[in-house]
Every structure is written in structure tokens, then in C-alpha cells.
Assembly symmetry: C2
Homo-oligomer: 397 residues x 2
């Protein structure tokens, strides 16, 4: 049997010890005997998790590998946006190089897929899109990258941005990004009409950064839901952050939740510790698909972050007061199957027929993997080993 490997003594999702036969980049069978001539990799009882997914990254922004950036930035959102635009030029934050560095770290931590928002604005034009595309091409056998064209500096308030977004989507960006329709563009109707227009024209999904809190965020969220229903875009729209779902008015949150469910709008949460956040367990129980990601990492916005999605899962768990094992199983579900659903990945998981994207870690249970975050023992992508003992085999620039 060619192009095949048998992984023995592994425990998929923490279950019983079994073996996993991988062939031609896919999981072919679980628990069968070793076919003749197939090389065997001993898992040593390791926990096997499906490839981790980062459904909200900013690959073009990270400063990993650069000198320490002393953060003296002001407190408002606009302070951070303007500071970043200036610092990109001053410090030479190269989108290709920085994306590549983060990708290599992510591969080492067992991430098989990333959705990255990538800045599009009238200062840098499409340079960041081009840089991230170059990096994703370079590492295409080790990790999959989906690109969101993201109007970080505003869409309507910076004329020319809409045309650049259009061009980014023509170039191959897979998702239309948006940002605080009221708070940033000061024109919620205009902003939403513009990005839904782009989505319709290009036949692509939408992912909007919605930082707007409380009643303002609820207003923008409801306007989004209305457009999804009117345009028949169910299942194609994600609202990232959605801090408004953390507001105290539980009746309003309930009404929004019902709207999200009806419109098939997905919610991305990082489990931010310092903002109101969506309640993962309640959204999941209501039937809303929840996903998560690391967001910006070691950038001009803030110094935190590792590419490790197990650490992110822990932070989501801490924020949601998940203590029970079944609660931590849900947190991992969000970081794997939830993210896969939002990104529209097919044949994702550990069942026969799925792509052979998986991670082995030394942990007794899923919960232990999340709270201990051990170095990834082995990372397999498309049937190929791409990292060992916490380090990617690929090199970063």
C-alpha cells in the first residue's frame, strides 16, 4: 500500500486507544490491523486532536521576530489604528515576512487552517494582501490560509478603499471584511450596503469586526441579520467579537440570539478578558455556531498572544468559567469543529474519509490538553508530518 502510514497507540479525542490508517492524505480507517508494508508510527498513547483552527488571525500585523515594540499607544480604538498605520512604515513591518513567521509558529503548534483578516487601506493598498498570499503559497503544503480583505482604517471614510477591497477580492481574497459599521464609518447603512454589495458581486462570505458594545452593537447586529435574511445569505456571515452579546440586558441578548440563529450568522469570540463577551455555552445551546481565534498577536495593538490555539481555548474557557470536563470539551469543539463550520471546511475531523490533519499531544484528556498546553508531539497535515516536539519542520524567513 503506497502513500500510507499507520499511527498506532493513539486516543482520538481522548477516547479508547486505537490505530489510525492514513492514505493519500486522508484518514482511511480507525482500529484496523496494519496492512502489509505500511510504515508504522507509534503514538505512545498520545491524545489525538483534529488539526487546530485559528478562525481569526491578523497574519500581516505580528511583530514576532522583530525587536521589542515599546507600546505607548493611547486608549481609543482609533489611537491604535492610526498608530499602526504610521508604525508599519516607520518600522518596516513586512507583511510577507511577518505572515511567514506566524505561519511557521502556528504549524509548530498544530494549526491546520487559519482565517486571516488582512489590512486593505489607501496607504498600503494591496501590499499586505500580496504579502500574505506569497507566504501562504510558500507554506501551502503545511497549512491552509483563508484571506479576509479587511478595511482596518475604515471603508467609506477613506475614499478609494472600496475599490481596493474589490480588487483584493478579484485577486483571490476569499472573504469580505467589515469593521464597526457605526463606530468606524459613522454610517451603518452605507457600510453594510457596501460590504454586502461586494459579497453579492463576488459571491463570497462576510466576516465583520463588531467591537461596538451594548445597544449600538445590537443595532448594527440587527441590521446585519436583516440583510442576511433579505439577501438569502444564511450561513455565509460571521460577526467577530460581538461584544454587544455580553451586555447586561438578557432580553435583548435573547432576541439577538434568535435572530442570529434564524439568519445562520456565526459568532467569533476570543474570550477577551477585558470586554463584555458572548456567552459561548448559551449561544451553542441555542444552536448558533461559535468559533474562535487568536486575533492580533505581538503587534502594535498589544504584546500578548501565542499562535497556540490550545492556549486560546484555555482563555475562552477561563472567560466563560468553564471548569467541568464537558465544558472544556465544548471549548475545544468551538476551536475545531466550530471553526471548520464557519470556514466551510469539508471532510474535517477524525473520521474515516476526513483529511489527515491532526495533532498528537501527551495529555490524558481533552481538558488536560487545554489547561496544560503541552508541546505538540507530532503535527500531521494532509497526511504529511509538518512538526515535531513543538517545532515546525519548515523554516521561517
Amino acid at each position: 500500500m503506497e502513500n500510507a502510514t499507520l499511527y498506532t497507540q493513539v486516543r482520538p479525542a481522548g477516547g479508547e486507544m486505537t490505530s489510525v490508517l492514513v492514505r493519500d492524505g486522508r484518514i482511511q480507517a480507525l482500529g484496523g490491523p496494519a496492512p502489509a508494508g505500511v510504515p508504522v508510527v507509534e503514538g505512545g498513547g498520545a491524545l489525538m486532536l483534529p488539526g487546530l483552527i485559528d478562525a481569526h488571525a491578523h497574519l500581516d500585523k505580528t511583530m514576532y521576530g522583530m525587536p521589542w515594540y515599546r507600546n505607548e499607544v493611547g486608549p481609543r480604538l482609533i489611537d491604535k489604528i492610526e498608530n499602526e498605520r504610521a508604525e508599519k512604515k516607520r518600522l518596516g513591518i513586512d507583511p510577507y515576512r511577518q505572515s511567514a513567521r506566524q505561519l511557521v509558529m502556528s504549524i509548530g503548534d498544530g494549526t491546520s487552517h487559519i482565517r486571516s483578516h488582512v489590512d486593505v487601506d489607501t496607504d498600503i493598498g494591496l501590499a499586505a494582501i500580496e504579502g500574505v498570499m506569497r507566504a501562504r503559497e510558500q507554506y501551502r503544503d503545511q497549512i491552509d490560509v483563508e484571506i479576509v480583505a479587511f478595511p482596518q482604517s475604515g471603508l467609506l471614510i477613506r475614499p478609494g478603499t472600496l475599490e481596493l477591497m474589490d480588487e483584493a477580492l478579484r485577486m483571490g481574497a476569499e472573504v469580505v471584511g467589515g469593521l464597526d459599521p457605526a463606530g468606524m464609518d459613522r454610517d451603518p447603512k452605507g457600510h453594510l450596503d457596501a460590504i454586502f454589495g461586494l459579497a453579492q458581486r463576488h459571491g463570497k462570505p462576510i466576516d465583520i469586526h463588531l467591537h461596538e458594545a451594548g445597544e449600538l452593537g445590537a443595532f448594527s447586529m440587527q441590521m446585519t441579520i436583516d440583510r442576511v435574511l433579505a439577501l438569502g445569505m444564511q450561513g455565509k456571515v460571521t460577526l467577530s467579537h460581538s461584544f454587544c452579546l455580553g451586555m447586561p440586558d438578557t432580553y435583548a441578548v435573547q432576541a439577538l440570539t434568535e435572530g442570529l440563529l434564524k439568519a445562520g450568522v456565526h459568532i467569533m469570540t476570543t474570550g477577551s478578558a477585558s470586554r463584555p463577551v458572548p456567552n459561548v455555552a448559551k449561544l451553542h445551546a441555542a444552536g448558533v455556531t461559535v468559533c474562535t481565534g487568536n486575533d492580533g498577536m505581538r503587534d502594535t495593538w498589544g504584546p500578548y498572544g501565542k499562535p497556540d490555539m490550545l492556549e486560546r481555548t484555555m482563555l475562552v474557557g477561563l472567560r466563560n468559567n468553564f471548569r467541568r470536563d464537558d465544558e472544556l470539551d465544548l471549548a475545544l469543539h468551538v476551536a475545531t469543529y466550530g471553526n471548520a463550520q464557519v470556514m466551510g471546511l469539508s471532510d474535517y475531523g477524525l473520521a474515516p474519509g476526513c483529511h489527515a490533519d491532526f495533532v498528537l499531544v501527551d495529555a490524558e484528556t481533552v481538558a488536560e490538553a487545554i489547561v496544560s498546553r503541552p508541546p505538540r508531539k507530532l503535527v500531521v497535515k494532509g497526511g504529511r508530518v509538518v512538526a515535531r516536539d513543538g517545532r515546525a519542520l519548515a523554516e521561517a524567513p
Copy 2:
């Protein structure tokens, strides 16, 4: 020169590269030339931090090194307390063995001092106090442990507990613990009178777990402040958690803050991501001493936690939305000098004359050390190397 070592190429608190002369367990000089015959340890440009301090631990509870504990515990505080009391017996959570394991991990992570609350109740009596005392004696040259006699299962609602607390303090527990005067004992006046009575009789400080949120917590906090002022116990009382300081009523918080300052009451926060929390920057600016600790770790309450105080400092930073370098410097100040002040440590720090308790880490800045949490390169306690490359030299049982 005997009993001396020169540490060269180190950067105390991230400042200029210098050398540090250690003699007889204390820092003798910074920046001087190497005296004849003194062994030299090359720091390689590492950041030097004062010994990290965990000002709120539960050494007797951790399940590190035991089989994974599947958590199926109910949501209320009392569920967790009652579950723990039962599981201690069923699983044999040995206070000596478990304390020793956590101490060895803490030494490896650069912790020089721990304040540990230790359960006292009518089921286990003083067994946990005795177990932790045995462990601290065993590791006394590597780490300092202060013991709080802690009535985890309630003080007045379980007759006999007060007498056990009295005995624990006679045996050498350094601090009188308390727990939710209203929420747990259902008798705030009785509870506070009892623990202040113990403190007065034994001449010892107080550290109360105050989980009570909102107006109820504010009530218990004000009753505590009143007693501190009446009894002249300024500087001797800590209120741990103090979730009520995270309540929305900023006027009430301001009034409490003024009371805390006047009474010299310290506040301990873990930066809990799922509860309202005290605002570290505002309390510090007002002049209130803030401290922090890891709290329970891998126990029947929840699976989270590492003994790493740099990770705790990161979590405090994330919860307080600290992004700027000066904000992260404050977070580390809390985890070092703040904790030292609350525990009444003398000669703490990196100045000449201080105890030679310090940590070397490979990081460019304090902020980088906090967000990256690199393995501790070298840990020195009382002038002696106690850990290297993230591992304590001592063995755990």
C-alpha cells in the same frame, strides 16, 4: 571573599547591563568589578527579576501528579466546597505530598515566597496544616512559605472550627483566614468578630476570601474596614478577590477605595476572567496596595493553573486591558513588590542589602517576560541556585 558569587551581564528589571555581587545570601553590590577569587556566573544579557511571589495559593488542594480528575461539579460555591471535602477522602489528596509537588514546581518557575491558605475544618482537623508545614520544612532553603489558617467550610456554621483555627495559629500558622462573612457563615458580624478576635489574641494579620459581589460584598468590606480602624490593625488585613470592587456603581467603589486606603487594607486579585474584578490601575493610583497569586491550581474546583507567576501576571494584565509597557511594569510590580509588602517581607528586591532572591529570564523587557513566559534560566534563593532551565534542583515526592 567567601560565600560570594558575581553574576555578570544581567539586566535588573530590564535596565542597563550590569553585574550583581551576591555574598552571604544577600545582594552586596551592583556594577562593581569582580573581587579576587569570586566565582563568576555569566548571565548572557538575561533580564533579572526579583524572586516572584505567589501571595494567594492553596498548596494543600492541588492534584498535580495525580490521575486526571474528571470535574462534574455543580455551579454553586457550596457545591465546590462540599465536593472537595468528600473527594479529599475518596481520592487521598495528601496535603504533604501535594504541597511538596506544587512547591517544587513553583521553585522551578522562580517563586521565592508563597502565602498559602490551608484548609482547617472539622473533617480533616489540622492534618492539612501539618502536611503543608512538613513540606515547607523540607524545602525551606529553596522557598519561603507563609501559612494562613483557612476555614474553607465555614467558621461558625461548623462548631469546633474556631477552636481548630486557634490551635492552627498556636502551631505556627502566620495568618488568620476568613471566608465570605455573609455568604458562607450567614453571620457577618459573628464571623468578623471571631476572626478579628483570633487575630488580636495571637497578634497575627488577617486574609479574608471575599467572593461576595456587589452590594453584599461592599457591606462586608465596609464592616472589615470599620474593625481595622477600631482595632488599629492598619496594614495587617488583606481582602482576597474582592469582586465587589468590580461592581458597576463607581461611586460606591470610590467610597470603598477611600476606606481601604485609610485602613491600609490590601487587595488580592487573581484577575479572574469570569468575575467582576478590582481595577488594579485605579487602586494602585489611589494608593491601595494590590497583590496577586495563582489561587487554586489543578484541583477539584477547576483544572486550570500553572505555578508560574509570570503567567498569572499575564492574566492580570489581560483582565485589566494592560497593553502599554508601563502598564505591564505595574502588573509585575504587583506580583513582586506588592506581594512583598502584603506579606511584610523585609529587604526584598534587587538593591544592595536585599536578600539574594532573583530570577534570570531570556527576555528583552519586563513586558516580554510576562507575555512570553520563557522557562526560567536560573533561579537564585538566598544566594543559592535552586533551579535551572525551568526545573527545580530539588525533587518532589
